[in-house]
Amino acid sequence: MPEIATPTDGADRSAAIAAIVAARQDMPGALLPILHEIQDTQGFIPDEAVPVIAGALSLSRAEVHGVITFYHHFRQHPAGRHVVQVCRAEACQSVGANALVAHAKQALGCDFHETTADGQVTLEPVYCLGQCACGPAMMIGDQLHGYVDAKKFDALVAPLRAAAKEGQQ
């Protein structure tokens, strides 16, 4: 499964957003499906999408903005190539999630909601992935991992960053 689609830019992106909105604007409760599709295809929800959506759904721009910012899942800026979500919830805490979180931040050199300096990995907290008997759990893109300790974290994350370095050379 692809991590996050390569964001298109300029005219391509505007056309893509317009097509997504046009295809869904008549659905009942269309706003979340539209936002999901934009984020799934563009990697984030660009500011330019807000007036387009507002116009199509007869909402104010403030209402659309309010929805985008209410939900943790939606992002207004591009993420790194890979999004790493580490579970912070109680079941994972009981088997060392707090230590894993500390390690992840230290290893990546960034805090939650931030991206590594090389632009490869965005670190996000998540409150339960439903893997509560096999924690600590984390998800890279749509790929789940259980029993994650510092060593397993490094083994999973290192290739993501190494591949990027090779790609840049």
Binding site: H73, E90, S94, Y147
Partner: protein
Amino acid sequence: MSAAVTTIFVPRDSTALALGAEAVVKAIGQQAAARGESVQIVRNGSRGMFWLEPLVEVQTDAGRVAYGPVSPADVAGLFDAGFLKGADHALAHGLTDEIPFLKKQERLTFARVGITDPLSLEDYRAHEGYAGLERALTMAPADIVQEVTDSGLRGRGGAAFPTGIKWKTVLGAQSPVKYIVCNADEGDSGTFSDRMIMEDDPFVLIEGMTIAGLAVGAEQGYIYCRSEYPHAIAALEDAIDTAVATGWLGDDIRGSGKRFHLEVRKGAGAYVCGEETALLESLEGRRGVVRAKPPLPALEGLFGKPTVINNVISLATVPIILSRGAQFYRDFGMGRSRGTLPFQIAGNVKRGGLVEKAFGVTLRELMFDYGGGTRSGRAIRAVQVGGPLGAYLPESRFDVPMDYEAYAAFGGVVGHGGIVMFDETVDMAQQARYAMEFCAVESCGKCTPCRIGSTRGVETIDKIIAGDQPVKHVKLVRDLCDTMLYGSLCAMGGMTPYPVLSALNEFPEDFGLATNPAKAA
């Protein structure tokens, strides 16, 4: 000559995937090809014995034989040992159905889970699937509602409201348009039963929602599933497509002239959307802000229309009630808690997983007889039952039967049946702080006690942890909890005090206070 085809089961459940099931499938395929063995790999659901995942099962004349946890490196050895004939091996557990963890369960809602291929309608039909809907198609709506009422089924999302009563209200509401909404926003830590139903037996949820539609006169259903569950969403969408293609959903269900359509809608990472009115707001395309009740969703719900909104497990339990009858279901359980609950044993546990048992089982049985104690091997200190809004329980509560009323009597919460075990290294002041922090992150912001109270709670508990006048600040936290308990609009702010107060009451020493020996009694 080529031998008969051997059927091998490797789960597609996301826990199995998280622990490497895909690589195991690949390794089995490669080994079989290299050895000229003829095998068919079925991607079943998980049996719910997560410490054994990836659990590989082999079909033999005697039954399915279990091997696990299997890593790709084990596969060659399994072939060498003759696992295709069910031979012994270091990872062998004998017949799957005879494993004590499974054998002693009472699986009604989870009857098929782990046994069938979740995406195979044929498998579903061969295991009593759609028997409930077939019966419902011959019944009057009021009789379906009565059957559900008589079964004693109560909402499994946590509030435990009688499902039949809710349906009766919607049936009686006068409106040409009504909706069935499934609350699949399973955000409680320590719970995964909704996820398992959606990934491992999606047709049972589709069937349950279709029956609900027939019962109340609704022709459109929505499953609101959290975005953190991509595998569940994919399985549901696949199963819905199959149901539509085979006439189990659509404008003329199996030639009955009855209509029911179903759609999956994806959440966006907001815990509060598990609250039913916030969920409806979200489905309508707004911020997940809680609505004041009344009006009840049963009368003015989705898009202002009468709406049945039920949890995944409630709806997935309806088919067996219809196929076996209300009496069959209500014969399980105790007191006013009828039937079974799929408990989820999680956290610091040796043998974690899904245990469906009749109400009345105790925490001690679940955590020790099934769970085998802690994974760390240390003593259990606290157990959070019922999700992030549930109380932390000390050992003195381990023998209370799991029953909605028995738990409510001491301020406990059965909730969605999640059990999160903590060993003696846990710091309960930190857990209390986390409960407030979680509420601050996830509050919808509509009411002040929840929005502001949670932030002040974090700050005040931080002072206690720092040793700054703990007695005074504990008093302040208790006062704050009182305001949140009685002044919040919904359970988010209204129940966050449960874990906080239980930590204070049962584990005062972690807050720099003297222990209270009376609490142990």
